[in-house]
């Protein structure tokens, strides 16, 4: 309970989740840049780690992040068929699908772990997606941290 309180912003009394985002260098990272260039407003509760391809995100990172108390983990990659490395995102899709089911089965809401396709030109989609996903995590509330 102590941790939960810590992470509630005193000013707004709103829960600020801790969210990890992996973004593919070629598409969604560029989209995040574009969102910036277009000065779109995005909630600040996430941190992006840039990877060359969404397929670099090993599922163990996600599991690790949850074990370290993150409230959500998102992976953003290129649309199917648009992978810079031709097929990386297809592997990602499979890995994510399976891991989501496994997490859910083990008592971690699968909504906390999301995959989205955002291409380099979709700055607005990046902003909208992040807003919606973060909202989703807020609705779920803080994760019960295992001790």
């Amino acid at each position: 309970m102590e941790k939960k309180e810590q992470r509630v912003d005193r000013g707004t009394e709103q829960f600020s989740p801790k969210i990890l985002v992996f973004a593919c260098n070629w598409c969604s990272y560029a989209a995040a840049d574009l969102a910036g260039v277009s000065r779109l407003e995005v909630p600040s509760d996430f941190r992006i780690i840039r990877v060359m391809c969404s397929a670099r995100v090993r599922p163990e990172f996600v599991i690790y992040a949850f074990s370290r108390g993150f409230d959500g983990v998102f992976i953003l990659g290129c649309h199917p068929g648009e992978c810079h490395y031709s097929e990386g995102n297809y592997y990602t899709r499979r890995r994510v699908l399976l891991l989501k089911e496994t997490l859910q089965f083990m008592g971690i809401e699968s909504e906390r772990f999301q995959l989205r396709w955002v291409s380099a030109s979709e700055g607005a989609k990046f902003a909208g997606t992040m807003k919606r996903l973060i909202e989703g995590i807020r609705d779920l509330g803080p994760r019960n941290i295992d001790t």
């Binding site: 599991i63 074990s67 699908l97 859910q104 699968s110 295992d146």
Partner: protein, 325 residues
């Protein structure tokens, strides 16, 4: 009686194989501390073949030992039940050994006895059991107090109730025809998976927390697994340190999630993990769930059934489901 004949047949064949140099090592079972306790044995010369036993208590998946001996022995002989051959199929597919380096002796099986179930049925004094034979539906235990009949269904492993063998696997020798034993009831694990699925996330979490509270992170489940063959385990790495080995629920959950995930598409459901677990955690549950999902999502067959094909996470289909997006 049939069993004793098969055991003799096995000993003779192994003797021959070692004698003529077909294999340099044979992995089988030997008597442990008491009739019902059977342990793996590694026979290197013909005299050792006498030690081999074969009965309804021989449950270990011996494929798990191949990896340890593979580097030093050319052509390893091994005796496997139909279900264990699935592990061999996988080891070959995962490039851990070539089929030519194996000499596979197929042994018939009518279901293996789960000691913990036996203990419940029979009582704690298992040392009283001195011999075993069987009928169509029952095992006949020869004990110091005479013969006791127990329905097979009551004491075989859960997995035996839904026995599966690989398709088209060629054994080098078959001691007898390998039949898939049939029982009146099915493996209850599927149902347990469904029950678990029907729970809310919070309830699932609660169930797992209670399981995990039992876990002592001894990692026996991992050591018993045929698929644990990496030179250095990700859990043992110091840099980076994935796993701090501190007994917290978070660490235990991480351990079990990663372990299950690493087995995705590789778990042959031999049940060794569950058998090895000193805390009695139903580990097959998680493996079965993943198996079920790979089947549903990627149309992937259970591991070790087909001799062809790629692990489900090492391939993809352009039309894989994306409903979750």
């Amino acid at each position: 009686m049939i069993k004793v004949m098969l055991q003799k047949k096995l000993q003779d064949r192994v003797k021959e194989l070692l004698q003529n140099g077909t294999v340099s090592l044979f992995i089988g079972y030997e008597q442990g501390p008491g009739f019902v306790y059977v342990s793996p044995c590694f026979v290197r010369d013909e005299s050792g073949a006498e030690r081999l036993v074969l009965n309804q208590f021989c449950s270990n998946n011996l494929a798990g030992y191949i990896h340890e001996y593979n580097a030093y022995n050319r052509r390893i002989g091994i005796c496997v039940k139909g279900c264990d051959a699935r592990a061999l199929v996988e080891l070959v597919k995962q490039n851990q050994i070539t089929r030519e380096d194996l000499f596979v002796v197929g042994v018939p099986c009518t279901g293996r006895i789960d000691i913990s179930k036996l203990r419940e049925e029979y009582g704690p004094k298992l040392e009283e059991i001195k011999g075993i034979s069987e009928t169509e539906r029952s095992f006949l235990l020869e004990t110091v107090r005479g013969t006791k009949e127990i329905y097979k269904e009551k004491i075989v492993f859960d997995k035996c109730l839904s026995c599966t063998h690989p398709e088209g696997f060629e054994y080098d020798i078959l001691l007898d025809e390998l039949k898939i034993p049939e029982f009146g009831s099915a493996d209850p694990v599927q149902k347990r998976v469904e029950e678990m699925e029907s729970l809310s996330t919070a309830e699932k979490n609660e169930v797992w927390c209670s399981y995990l509270s039992q876990c002592i992170l001894c990692r026996a489940c991992q050591k018993a697994c045929y698929a644990c063959y990496c030179p250095e385990c990700i859990f043992d790495k110091a840099y980076p340190r994935w796993f701090s080995k501190i007994s917290t629920t978070a660490q235990k959950r991480l351990y079990h999630l990663i372990r299950a995930y690493h087995l995705a598409g590789r778990c042959v459901d031999c049940g060794e993990c569950e058998r090895a677990c000193p805390a009695g955690i139903p580990l097959r549950l998680l493996n079965k769930k993943i198996e079920k999902e790979t089947k549903k999502l990627f149309n992937n067959r259970e591991a070790g059934i087909n001799q062809e094909g790629v692990l489900p996470l090492n391939t993809f289909d352009i039309d894989d489901p994306d409903f979750f997006l």
